[in-house]
Symmetry: C2
Subunit: 239 residues, 2 copies
């Protein structure tokens, strides 16, 4: 099963000026694609933290997505950080430079060309986006922080990450967690499924939502049927 | 300046079943309290990941807050993880056991007492919450994942974290980032302020929002006045 990590780079999220939209969007996308998201981190615009985190994530997960820190200003350090993570230097990429020159024309400022400075060894992922490719180094995909562009760029390359879908069943019970915990232990020990237990305080008709999931649909069905039998009359519904 | 990190523990966030409310709430609270949030991470219900992350954060930041993974079921591993992070064992805490026995009365299941199993060496932070204290080990505060309880518990202890407030000015300009980047470099080099630059695609009247902030109000005022002078007629407004 393919795994993924998301790195959000930006003081603006940590200081509460901006509420994250990108991790939230990508979490749903990865889920739908059958990719197991294993970690999300928000770090500041600090070069060492970016490079350390990228190196760590690139070793842990199949796919790594960064958000933010690409642009022409002093706080745009993601390309530097990704380069350092892999012991590479930045280089001015001819194809990206041409795209920028075409886009800005005679309004081009020298600083805009910083957007063409990328780590040596990157590959440009063209997807179905008409103009600007996604820049990737090994398994790290560098995406911009502006939500509209983040979403557009990810959508243009998303199908290359598609795997087998997840299957999920939810069992809602009117029992408290402490009363069902032993049954959940048994399900965990018997079936190859991920079991989650989520108490709800203010729900009118249930106390705990139990989730059962796996890439194997039959295993999920069997575990759900077993749990429903075991919990008996306390089961409010199954979805 | 006091720093903080937030650790969200829960498969349910990574799989997109639940949208985080707790980090979002705590980000705003810490900001208002003058505490610099430096990192947020979302990790799964996996013991080693919890203990490694808690140990790492506890060494990096003044205050660490965990959310989730406390309860009586198999996926509630936070107390174990915090104990391991500091090389401690779990013990049944007499004061917490009494609270649980009083709360559940004759409905108590043996599993409910797991909620009284906490790392050796914890301190109970009573705040102004009427019943259940916040459990802390050194600089790590263990909070539950259920948003209503997370908020209530944090609010009961929040004032102990209060420091000097942050000061912020925002300068909105109709210029592109590439055109103002050199001025921003100069502001960064001249003043002791954090400078952020946030382009906006769909705004009607500006292209970039520049944020200037510090705990020193006079420094923020001076940096803002300087930047406004330098950007001249492109400044749309200052807030």
């Amino acid at each position: 099963m393919a795994t993924a990590g998301i790195i959000l780079i930006g003081d603006e999220i940590l200081s509460g000026k901006v509420v994250d939209e990108n991790a939230r969007f990508l979490t749903e996308e990865l889920r739908e694609l059958g990719v197991a998201l294993r970690r999300v981190i928000v770090i500041p615009d600090v070069l060492d933290e970016i490079s350390d985190t990228v190196r760590d994530f690139a070793g842990r997960f199949d796919h790594v997505f960064t958000s933010g820190g690409v642009g022409p200003t002093h706080d745009d350090l993601t390309m530097d950080g990704v380069a350092r993570a892999f012991g590479q230097k930045l280089m001015r990429h001819p194809e990206l430079e041409k795209l920028l020159r075409d886009y800005y024309g005679d309004k081009l400022e020298e600083r805009n060309l910083r957007m063409a400075d990328v780590p040596e060894g990157v590959h440009l992922v063209h997807g179905d986006h008409p103009t600007w490719p996604v820049i990737a180094l090994k398994n790290v995909y560098v995406l911009p922080g502006i939500p509209e562009i983040f979403r557009r760029k990810f959508k243009s390359i998303r199908e290359q990450f598609r795997g087998q879908p997840f299957h999920l069943k939810c069992v809602f019970t009117s029992d408290e967690e402490g009363r069902i915990a032993a049954q959940l232990d048994r399900i965990v020990a018997t079936y190859q499924v991920q079991v989650g237990s989520y108490p709800k305080l203010d729900a009118s008709d249930y106390k705990v939502k139990v989730t059962l999931e796996s890439k194997d649909a039959a295993e999920v069905e069997a575990a759900a049927a077993d749990l429903v039998r075991a919990l008996g009359a306390s089961v409010v519904r199954v979805t």
